[in-house]
Symmetry: C2
Subunit: 239 residues, 2 copies
C-alpha cells in the first residue's frame, strides 16, 4: 500500500491529521531541533523540552544534575547554564547530561504530536540519516513544521522539502503541502542561507546577532543521531 | 507607513490575524470564488453563500425569486437550479437574480473573515481588477486561501502568489507565507493548469469530470467586477 507523505505547515493544523497513523518528524530549524540533534549526537543522555522558563527552572533541584537551557529574546536568562544556540551543545558541555530546553514552538509541536506512532526530530544536521531511517519504516510520514507562534515559516518548510526530495522516488503519496514544500526547496536548495535571507525569521535572528547560529543550523549531514520522543524526553533512537 | 501583505494558507490560521486590521481577499479558486466573480460580473444582484444544502433549501420560499445552487460530490442536488460550475453563472441565468450558493470552504473562510475592514472575493477571473483596487486602498491586506476542509491547497496559494506579483513593487511588507506563495507562482505561472495537474484537488476534480470548469477558472482577467461582502451577501463593489 502506498503510504502518505504529508507536510503540516503549522502546529495549528496538526488537528487535521490523525497523528496516530503517522511517524511524525518535528522541525524547528532555527534553532530548537538543530540544537537537539547536535546535543543528542554529542552524547546528551536526554533533552527535556519545556515551553516556559519557569518550567525549566523547576528542574533545578538539589542532587539532580540537569543542565538548564533558557533563553528569552535571544539572550541566556540569568541563572541558566545556556540558551538555544547549537554552539552550547558541544560534547564537552552535554556528554552524559540531561538537558532541560526551553523552546516555545518546538515544545508546542511535540506536545500536539505526542500520540503519533513515533515522534522524531529533524534538522538539516541529520537530514540524510533521518531520511534513510524513514525509508525503512513503511509508515505514513507527517513532517510537522513548528513555525513561529503557529505561523508558517519558510525555513521549516524548506527542510520538509529537502526530506521530500530524498523520499519522493519511493512509493509515497504527496499532499499539496508536500508538493509546495518540495518546490520551494527546488528554488532555495542551491543556497539555502541566501534564499532565507528575505524571510521574517532570518531578519529577526540577524537583529539578535546570531547569524553564526543560522549558518550552523543550515549545515547538511553534520550528524547521524535521530532524537526520538520517549515520554517527556528526547533520547537517541536505537535501531 | 508600510502596510502588511500577508497570506493565510488555511482558514484554520485566520485566528492568528486581527482581521479587523485588514482588507481580506477570500480565495477559493475551484470553484466558489471563480463562480461568484463570474456571477456578479454577469449582473447577479447578490450571491448568498451558505455552507449546507439544507440552509440553501431554506431559501426556497413562495414569492421569493432566489436561484438555489447546491452540489454534492460534483453533482447538482436534485431539486436545485444548478451547482458550483461557473458555466451556470452566465448572464442569461443570473442577471438581476439573487443566488444562494452552497460552498463549504468558501463560506467557512468568509465567516471567519467577516470582521475585516472589507471582505472581497478574488479569483484569476478578476485578478488585475482586484489588484488595481487593492493598490489604491492603503490598508493591510490578507489573502485568505479557503483550502480544502482547512487543508492547504496549491491552487488558492498560487492565486495569492499572482496577487503578490502585482502588488510587490509597491510598499508592502510580506510575511513568509506571502514570499512562499509568490515563489510558487513563479514556478507555475507559465502554465498554471499544467502546474496544478500534480495536485490533489485537480485529480479529484478530474475524476468528477469537470476539467472544463478548471480551465475556465484559470482564465486571467475575464472579468472586472469585485464582489464584496455586505452583511450575509456578496454584491458588486461600487467605487
Amino acid at each position: 500500500m502506498t503510504n502518505d507523505l504529508n507536510v503540516c505547515l503549522s502546529p495549528a493544523l496538526i488537528p487535521l491529521y490523525n497523528v496516530e497513523d503517522y511517524i511524525v518528524v518535528v522541525v524547528d530549524i532555527f534553532r530548537a531541533t538543530s540544537s537537539v540533534c547536535y546535543g543528542i549526537e554529542n552524547g546528551a543522555k536526554a533533552i527535556i523540552p519545556v515551553s516556559q522558563v519557569e518550567e525549566c527552572a523547576a528542574y533545578r533541584e538539589p542532587g539532580l544534575d540537569y543542565l538548564l537551557a533558557a533563553e528569552r529574546d535571544g539572550k541566556v536568562v540569568e541563572g541558566f547554564e545556556f540558551g538555544n544556540s547549537p554552539f552550547s551543545y558541544t560534547k564537552e558541555k552535554v556528554k552524559g547530561k540531561t538537558i532541560v530546553l526551553t523552546t516555545t514552538n518546538g515544545t508546542h509541536a511535540l506536545h500536539l504530536s505526542r500520540l503519533a506512532k513515533k515522534v522524531v526530530i529533524g534538522s538539516f544536521l541529520n537530514l540524510t540519516a533521518i531520511c534513510n531511517w524513514l525509508k525503512t519504516q513503511d509508515e505514513n510520514i507527517l513532517l510537522v513544521c513548528a513555525g513561529w507562534k503557529n505561523n508558517f515559516n519558510l525555513e521549516d518548510t524548506l527542510f520538509a522539502g529537502a526530506v521530500i526530495e530524498q523520499l519522493k522516488g519511493f512509493d509515497f503519496k504527496l499532499d499539496d503541502a508536500a508538493i509546495a514544500a518540495n518546490d520551494l526547496y527546488q528554488m532555495g536548495k542551491y543556497d539555502i542561507n541566501d534564499y532565507l535571507k528575505k524571510t521574517s525569521h532570518s531578519k529577526r535572528l540577524k537583529i539578535l546577532g546570531i547569524e553564526n547560529d543560522i549558518e550552523f543550523c543550515l549545515q547538511v549531514d553534520l550528524t547521524t543521531a535521530i532524537p526520538v520522543l520517549e515520554g517527556d524526553r528526547l533520547v537517541k533512537l536505537r535501531f
